[in-house]
């Protein structure tokens, strides 16, 4: 094959060339996605009474820590995913949201366990709340995931699987943080298992969708 085939391919690619708009920096793209999340948060703030949230933040320190962890995971996840959407970035970017993720899940889990030990009857209440909680996180994640995948398709990742997982983590964290605004239940621990299930579901769907949608139809 070698030089002749390369020359043929180069000729074909050059003939196919059309002007392209250079992609914005990953930081700017992450900021745009986070701005959309912030707009969602503002909409929810206007639509719902946030008294419960303020009380919860005041009286339950773990809830404050868990919320901070979720926000940090969403921000770092967004930065990581837009870095990974470029072909010359290292896969190590995928590790960026991991410390915040551990912090967030750890704080949520500990808060939940403490409350269950103090008030065992809450176990049943949390289980009753669980389907709503799951539904809300999944519902919130749908538009955020769609926007994220749409934006990622403008890039060209060499790691579609890793990028999708990082994107799923960012979306799940953002959805959970948004849920805190209007969820009426006075405990940072809606059931940790349900949160974990919701996160796994969102990450799994993003992984599945992203693996199929990213780079399948390369864009010029």
């Amino acid at each position: 094959m070698s030089s002749k085939t390369h020359t043929n391919l180069i000729d074909a690619l050059a003939a196919d060339l059309v002007p392209v708009r250079r992609l914005h920096s990953p930081g700017l793209r992450a900021a745009f996605w986070l701005a959309v999340v912030a707009a969602f948060a503002f909409g929810l703030y206007l639509a719902y009474d946030i008294t419960n949230l303020l009380i919860r933040m005041e009286h339950v320190p773990e809830a404050k820590i868990a919320l901070a962890g979720a926000v940090a995971t969403a921000v770092l996840g967004a930065v990581a995913v837009f870095q990974l959407s470029l072909p010359d970035r290292r896969p190590l970017w995928g590790l960026l949201p991991v410390p915040a993720l551990i912090f967030w899940l750890g704080a949520s889990g500990l808060g939940c366990l403490e409350r269950l030990q103090a008030l065992p009857e809450m176990r049943w209440y949390t289980l009753l709340e669980a389907p709503d909680c799951l539904l809300n996180i999944v519902a919130l994640s749908l538009p955020l995931s769609s926007l994220l995948i749409f934006m990622l398709r403008r890039g060209y990742t060499l790691y579609p699987g890793l990028t999708s997982v990082a994107g799923g983590i960012a979306v799940a964290a953002a959805s959970t943080a948004l849920l805190e605004i209007f969820h009426p239940f006075d405990a940072a621990g809606t059931d940790i298992l349900v949160h974990a299930l919701a996160i796994a579901l969102v990450v799994g769907v993003n992984r599945w969708l992203g693996g199929r949608l990213l780079n399948k139809q390369p864009r010029a």
């Binding site: 094959m1 070698s2 085939t5 390369h6 020359t7 391919l9 180069i10 000729d11 690619l13 050059a14 003939a15 196919d16 060339l17 059309v18 002007p19 392209v20 708009r21 250079r22 992609l23 920096s25 959407s85 470029l86 072909p87 010359d88 970035r89 290292r90 403008r154 890039g155 060209y156 060499l158 780079n215 390369p218 864009r219 010029a220």
Partner: protein, 209 residues
Amino acid sequence: MDVMLRFGREFSSLSAEHEGTDARSSPDDRWSGLMVAAQAGDRTAYHCVLREIVPVIERAARRQGVTGTSVDDVVQEVLSSIHHARHTYDPARSFTAWVTTISQRRALDLLRKQTRQGARERHAPLAYESYAEPDAATDRGLEESDNARILREAIAELGEGQREAVEHLALRELSLAEASRLTGKSTGALKVNLHRAMKALRTRLGGQI
């Protein structure tokens, strides 16, 4: 001579860059400029930069352990990837690093693919060639020609009436009416002759065919 010296200098500085001494050496600046022009739609610049980076891709592929004609496969993959990803190139960053990272990744993809194929498939041409097909009978032709000769001899020794019946009804597979018309004998006589002929042949040939 002048051209060769310039070519040599460019590749010396490229090697230095790979050693991490200078991330934005002369070829890198040149390629970066060409790529920016390509992003704006300059086909000549694009053609030029793609042609010039082929050695960079080949070197990156070989460093990942790709050998032989597979290097050409990597080059093709990388050129296609660059075409689809050209809008992601940021001129503030090194073009050579951009191409090298894509090349390394595509080389690893190819090696993984080859490993997966190697695990599934076995290259064993001798095993294929020495496989004995159960239905294969190399002497079948000879055997069949022997049987035909024996049968022909046996038919030839039959009486005229019986031989005619066998030839027309059994070998040529004519109908009774057609055989009757050809031989001028009644269909009943033909039937009797055929029956007797078959009995005689069976007796004569036994289990030979």
